[in-house]
Amino acid sequence: MSTVALPSTTSRTAIAAPTARTLRQRLRRFAEAAVTPLELDDVLDVFHPLRSGAELRGRIVAVHPETADATTLVIKPGKDWAGHVPGQYVRIGVDVDGVRLWRTYSLTHGPRADRCISITVKAIPDGVVSNHLVHRVRPGTMLQLGQAEGDFVLADPMPGKLLMVTAGSGITPVIGMLRSLFSRAERVRADIVVLHSALSRSEVIFGDELRRYAAEGRLRLVELHTDVDGMLDVADLDTIVPDLAERTTYACGPVGLLDALEQHHTERGLALHIERFRSAVVVTGEGGTVSFGRTGTLVEAAGDTPILDAAEEAGVLMPSGCRMGICFGCVLPLRSGAVRDLRNGALTVANPGETGDGGVLIQTCVNAAAGACDIDH
């Protein structure tokens, strides 16, 4: 009997589904016709920017200071947030002085009951975005979000013995993993060592929480404070963690530490997972090679010549207009690298992975290359 019933149910849904879709599509088409030249989403955004179907955004619902220069932001993401695994990071677009800038931050919680996500930001000297997020944003601020990314996550099944090596804000992806583990109803049977290096005791982000976990016997915490203990030296690892060889290491921190750790572990064939926060710093010298991504053309551009002129001299067909910086007819996306505005020396930098998918749009007629740059054209 069931064999007869099944096909009939299937065929009913098969017929019903397209009709429902068509009706929905028709309604949408009608609504689009009513609001053109806007898109329906632009109108709906005015009222409900976090709805399903909108571009992914989030609203800051709480701001908690962690240390003097680190702050946790609790963000309510839009309905289309697809979830994340602790240890992953998220791209965040924030308007600083009216300019949208993108950065990536590790998520510092596992999935939460209130569906919110959190990031913890440490202000770095001269960091435009980090200082804004740490010291200036208030609850209610809207942010642009990407979906969670990254493969710095605990393996499944989880290794029995773990070593977490973190320094400074490198604790952020790891605290996400720990919180997620320790919030489970069933107590996790894992042997975890957290080796954390910070400038001083008061600089340790999540210091109280980590010490509480240690006191509860959930993990062994080794704190190194640079002001008294000096910097972490990988040569000391064997002394600090005698059973190092039995552990899977997860590490996140400054480039120097990670490079040293990578070399150390590779030489001994030990398991290591690394999370790097930033790619290499962009060189801001004058002039440089401009590459045009789509055609593969390379152009040597001088520091005092507009990219438009340099490219045209090299035979590249470029969009152009007034050639004096007023008409925006020459705008192209800068995927990576830096350019300098010849009118006032202002530097525009594009960092792949941080800058939005479309790159940074620049006026080629008034900008010169400041180091190697890649232009999408």
């Binding site: 009513a34 109108v43 007034c322 004096m324 007023i326 008409c327």
Partner: protein, 409 residues
């Protein structure tokens, strides 16, 4: 109006090349000050205007669902007219200029914005930003001068055809968005040059037609249809039509005030060969006119009431023009230049006066008064019906009369 280079009392004769370059530097400094101050409050401003405009438009259209009731029709039409004006002037025009590109918000960017206008943004940006703003008031290069259908300068020979130009100008004002579309397509020139079969031109025409269809479907079909339940199909259609006309008349008037009032200079084509940045600035200063007035005037004109500041710095956010206007004006005074600014009715009247004056033979309007009206009209009739030789002879007489009149004065 005569091209500045042909004037006997050239208003820039007293400026040396060094003066002009210094002026350019001082204007660059003003620009730089705004760039440095530009930030969060500016971003908040444009987002606020966009949000207010969207709510006003939706609210007005909601009221028009019951437009069969006269009060609803009046309120809805007024609201929609204002919304459409805001959308075109303070929002669309300025975003398409790239004034807000620095925010790096892809939703408010010159490369992604589309506006409530039958001209596709892409085509308008070319004819407006590249041609009009680069070649401002250069005869034969800047089509904004008379949109290719009007006599805008004494040096253009008069022809009886121009007698109807005040009428043309009015029709163009009513359907201004279509006029702009035709002008962005360079329709006249392309027909004259028999280029209408050109695939690139055909592609642009089809873009325009697609946009026209979308715009018309919205205003004359979808929204009237939504009003059917209250029996308001026709009233809503009429309301939308009215709002479009109001918006067209308003934007046409504002734009006429920007470059057309009496006393605004025009330039010869060859005068811009090898033009320096300072000279370009100077041309913008002399070729534009402001409208004085309050905040409402500035917002509703998209801050084109600060046409001079806008032409000097077309890429600065419009909300900053008011604050730099006194500094710009000071530079005008220091350099002995005329900062052309007057209230809206005065500028509109002045612009229309010029349209009418130039629709008639040179000197005709100036030499005509109540006493000699009959012989003057007779002469105009002869000039209109006669051939080129008759016109030349009559014109010579008119010039003589005008000379005498000016000598007497």
């Amino acid at each position: 109006m005569t091209a500045l280079q042909k004037k006997s009392d050239n208003p820039i004769a007293h400026l040396s090349a060094e003066d002009i370059e210094l002026l350019g530097k001082q204007l660059d400094e003003i620009r730089q000050e705004v760039l440095e101050a530009r930030g969060e409050s500016d971003a908040a401003y444009i987002r606020k205007v966009i949000s207010v405009q969207r709510k006003l438009e939706l609210g007005s259209r909601a009221v028009l669902l019951a437009s069969i009731f006269p009060p609803a029709w009046i309120v809805g039409t007024a609201g929609l007219s204002v919304a459409k004006i805001l959308e075109n002037m303070e929002i669309g025009h300025n975003i398409l200029h790239g004034q807000w590109d620095w925010m790096r918000d892809p939703k408010i960017h010159s490369t992604t914005w589309e506006w409530d206008h039958v001209t596709p943004a892409e085509q308008w940006k070319h004819s407006h930003n590249e041609l009009h703003h680069t070649y401002t008031n250069v005869i034969g290069k800047d089509n904004d001068l008379g949109y290719g259908i009007m006599r805008v300068d004494e040096d253009q020979p008069w022809h009886p055809f121009f007698l109807v130009q005040p009428f043309w100008n009015f029709v163009n004002a009513c359907f201004f968005e279509y006029g702009i579309a035709a002008y962005d397509l360079e329709l006249g020139a392309n027909i004259k040059r028999k280029k209408t079969k050109d695939p690139e031109f055909k592609a642009r025409v089809s873009q325009v037609l697609k946009k026209v269809r979308k715009q018309a479907t919205k205003d004359y079909l979808v929204h009237p249809a939504l009003s059917l339940p209250t029996g308001s199909f026709l009233p809503t259609l009429a309301a939308n039509f009215t709002a479009n006309i109001v918006r067209n008349l308003w934007s046409h008037s504002i734009i006429m005030c920007g470059h057309f009032p009496e006393g605004v200079e025009t330039f010869e084509k060859r005068s811009i060969d090898g033009e320096t940045r300072g000279e370009w600035y100077l041309r913008q200063m002399l070729g534009s006119a402001n409208i004085s007035g309050g905040k409402a005037m500035h917002v509703m004109s998209g801050n084109l009431s600060h046409q001079i500041e806008h032409h000097l710095f077309p890429d600065l956010p419009s909300n900053r023009y008011a604050e730099i206007a006194p500094k710009v004006r000071e530079l005008f005074e220091k350099n002995g230049l005329n900062y052309h600014s007057a209230p809206f009715p005065k500028q509109v009247a002045s612009a229309w006066h010029k349209v009418i004056r130039l629709s008639l033979p040179n000197g005709w309007l100036a030499t005509t008064n109540a006493k000699n009206a009959v012989p003057q009209l007779k002469m105009l009739y002869t000039m209109t019906t006669g051939g080129p030789r008759v016109r030349r002879a009559a014109q010579a007489r008119l010039n003589q009369q005008a000379r005498r009149a000016s000598q007497a004065a």
